[in-house]
């Protein structure tokens, strides 16, 4: 059982954090369940096990704040309030998808909620999120920008370049590193000389935090500090959330069958499941009843069912329009 320090956090917030994690989990499990049908012809990078990061961070963001994400972006899209129907339609390669079938799972967008893009080039969105924060400063519209990325993005020079600029200009951007310890099949220990990502940019004087990324309350608390600081003109922060993807890098396996990690390791992290642990905690603390949880689940299931029906019934893009949308 994870230790949740909920003092001072309103019950409604706790319930919403849970609902959002459950929603992400259930969407991902539905994709997981139907992926073998081969109707979603797109490489899916499921975030099962990492839901607390997206939910805990986005809980502090306004609709018009900016979020940028990566190839493993379903959770960020949902947590920012992205339309699930158009996301699923995008996975089904449909014209009604959020990117009109031009993007696929790795390129989700919903400008109506400030999710301005996701890139599958590791680290690709980090400077773009930084630039959106610059735009906010120049326009004086008080928005905060968040970049979600994985531990491998720390190995890209563009992160250093971006933090240097963000610190120079005191930009309202929060860098959220989801350290799930693997880049495809390569463990962190094979790629970085030290396991200290949160301290990596101390030389640039950016505040750096390390949190248990499976503990939604810890993520929520640190994210509040970072986002409040950014909005108040205090500049950027860096958060390392230590978490784990319970599925393989891509697709629906666990990675154990591939041989780069053990069943024991996966089981150890499954026991730290961000959703189930928080659910048990909320029930034990009488913050939610079992029947309220069932109601949440039922409502989410209905939304997911509608989304998949919408996607499956939607038209595919017209092949003759392959060059459309290149220029505006």
């Amino acid at each position: 059982m994870l230790n949740y320090r909920i003092n001072g956090i309103p019950k409604e917030v706790l319930r919403e954090l849970y609902r959002m994690m459950l929603k992400i989990r259930k969407v991902e499990l539905k994709i997981d369940e139907l992926y073998h049908e081969d109707e979603m012809k797109t490489p899916v990078h499921l975030c099962i096990g990492q839901e607390a990061v997206a939910a805990g961070v986005c809980a502090h963001l306004n609709t018009d704040d900016y979020v940028f994400s990566n190839h493993r972006g379903h959770g960020h899209y949902i947590a920012k309030g992205g339309d699930v129907k158009t996301m699923i339609a995008e996975l089904y390669n449909r014209e009604t998808g959020c990117s009109k079938g031009r993007g696929g799972s790795m390129h989700l967008i919903d400008t109506s909620v400030g999710l301005l893009g996701t890139s599958s080039i590791v680290g690709g969105c980090i400077p773009i999120a930084t630039g959106a924060a610059l735009g906010s400063v120049l326009k004086k519209d008080n928005r905060v920008s968040v970049a979600f990325f994985g531990d491998a993005a720390v190995e890209e020079g563009v992160l250093y370049e971006s933090i240097n600029f963000a610190m120079l200009k005191k930009l309202p951007v929060v860098y959220v590193c989801e350290n799930n310890f693997y880049s495809v099949f390569s463990h962190l220990s094979k790629r970085q000389s030290k396991d200290d990502i949160y301290r990596r940019f101390e030389g640039l004087s950016i505040p750096g935090y390390r949190v248990d990324g499976n503990n939604v309350i810890e993520v929520y608390r640190v994210a509040k500090k970072a986002i409040d600081n950014a909005r108040g003109g205090g500049g950027p922060s860096f958060i390392e959330c230590r978490t784990y993807r319970l599925r393989d890098h891509i697709g629906t396996g666990s990675g154990v069958e591939v041989g780069y990690r053990t069943q024991e390791e996966v089981d150890e992290w499954a026991a730290k499941c961000p959703v189930r642990n928080f659910e048990r905690f909320l029930v034990k603390q009488n913050i939610m009843t079992a029947s309220e949880i069932d109601e949440f689940a039922a409502a989410i299931d209905r939304e997911i069912e509608e989304a998949f029906k919408f996607a499956q019934a939607s038209p595919l893009p017209d092949g003759d329009k392959v060059i459309e949308y290149l220029y505006q």
């Binding site: 890139s119 080039i121 610059l134 120049l138 326009k139 949308y325 220029y327 505006q328």
Partner: protein
């Protein structure tokens, strides 16, 4: 500012002999930036040294004092991140102009230019756009060498989603920069330092030059030379000399390579039956290759002789002036190609 309304009404064609105000090439570019900064608060100018005492060849000199350092500011080198920063600011509603001394440094930003900015509109189904301008000036001579003189238009011409602009006259440098800032797509402008020596007719105020519309710099019936950027100067000089020998050269300046004015090239080749492309870049897989392929595809029947390319040999730029002289093609090479294509060697 609603650029679309401001610009289309003021659209002007190039009139070489038009009497009127003359401006230096540098002053023409500077004027475009000033008009944009004055007219649209979304516009800002960034780049290494844009607010320093040299002011990017004088183009941005003191603009920081007039518009403030929040709108005209120096940047860390970090070309890749800063290109992403420009893209992100554009997504947030701004219109950045990111200036570089040398295109060579754009190679550090290829991830953000090619993987990100150029794809954002298409990859997200047209739901978002990236109005950024990336400007750089090619250097040449004085031993600049392999990494300060590269002409990389061939690389950028290859990438869908980008605009590619290469002016040759002060009039075009100003008008096309305004068009680029007004455009909703990522635009690469590659200037050439040696063009900065020119002075020419430049109208006051805002005017646009549409992308994809070239101009005939000189008319002639014998050979079409499509000349890019600084090669327009060399081609006109060659044409002048050949005129004295009774050979009439038509010189086409496409002004923008992406989009490319195919019609002006094809109709000229239809008339002359002979095509030479003179580019500042390398020969293999370059702009010349693309333009002659265009004519082979759509105007093969017009051709009376094999096409020819005037381009740099496929080696890095050498530093020694003895080698530079051989590396850079110019008037003499163009004349030689013209004579060969006419079979009068």
């Amino acid at each position: 500012m609603d650029w679309s309304k401001t610009l289309v009404k003021e659209e002007l064609d190039f009139e070489e002999q038009k009497a009127g105000r003359k401006l230096s090439y540098v002053a023409a570019i500077r004027e475009a930036l000033e008009l944009a900064l004055t007219g649209d608060e979304r516009v800002f100018v960034m780049g290494q040294g844009v607010d320093d005492v040299a002011g990017m060849f004088g183009i941005t000199l003191d603009l920081d004092k007039k518009y403030g350092r929040h709108r005209v500011f120096d940047t860390p080198l970090s070309e890749n991140a800063l290109t992403g920063v420009a893209t992100g600011a554009a997504l947030a509603g701004m219109r950045p102009v990111y200036m570089h001394n040398r295109p060579d440094f754009l190679l550090l930003a290829m991830d953000q230019i090619v993987n990100q900015a150029s794809k954002w509109s298409y990859m997200f189904g047209g739901g978002i756009h990236v109005p950024i301008v990336i400007w750089a000036a090619v250097g040449r001579g004085w031993g600049g060498g392999a990494q300060h003189t590269q002409t990389l238009q061939g690389l950028f011409m290859h990438v869908p989603g980008l605009r590619l602009v290469m002016p040759s006259r002060p009039y075009d440098a100003k008008g096309l920069l305004i068009t680029s800032i007004a455009d909703n797509n990522p635009v690469i402008i590659i200037e050439h330092r040696w063009l900065f020596r020119q002075t020419g007719y430049v109208p006051e105020g805002l005017y646009s030059i549409p992308f994809g519309r070239g101009v005939v710099r000189r008319t002639g019936k014998d050979i079409t030379i499509v000349a890019i950027s600084y090669m327009v100067i060399e081609a006109l000089s060659a044409a002048q000399e050949l005129q004295e020998q009774g050979i009439e050269i038509e010189v086409i300046d496409p002004r923008t390579l992406k989009p490319l004015d195919e019609e002006i090239i094809l109709s000229s080749v239809k008339k002359t039956g002979r095509l030479i492309v003179a580019d500042t870049g390398w020969k293999t897989g370059g702009v010349g290759a693309e333009i002659v392929a265009l004519v082979a595809e759509k105007g093969f029947d017009y051709l009376k002789a094999p096409v020819r390319r005037v381009a740099s040999p496929d080696v890095p730029t050498p530093a020694s002036y003895a080698l530079e002289a051989k590396f850079y093609p110019g008037k003499a090479d163009i004349i030689s190609h013209c004579k060969q294509i006419l079979g009068i060697v």
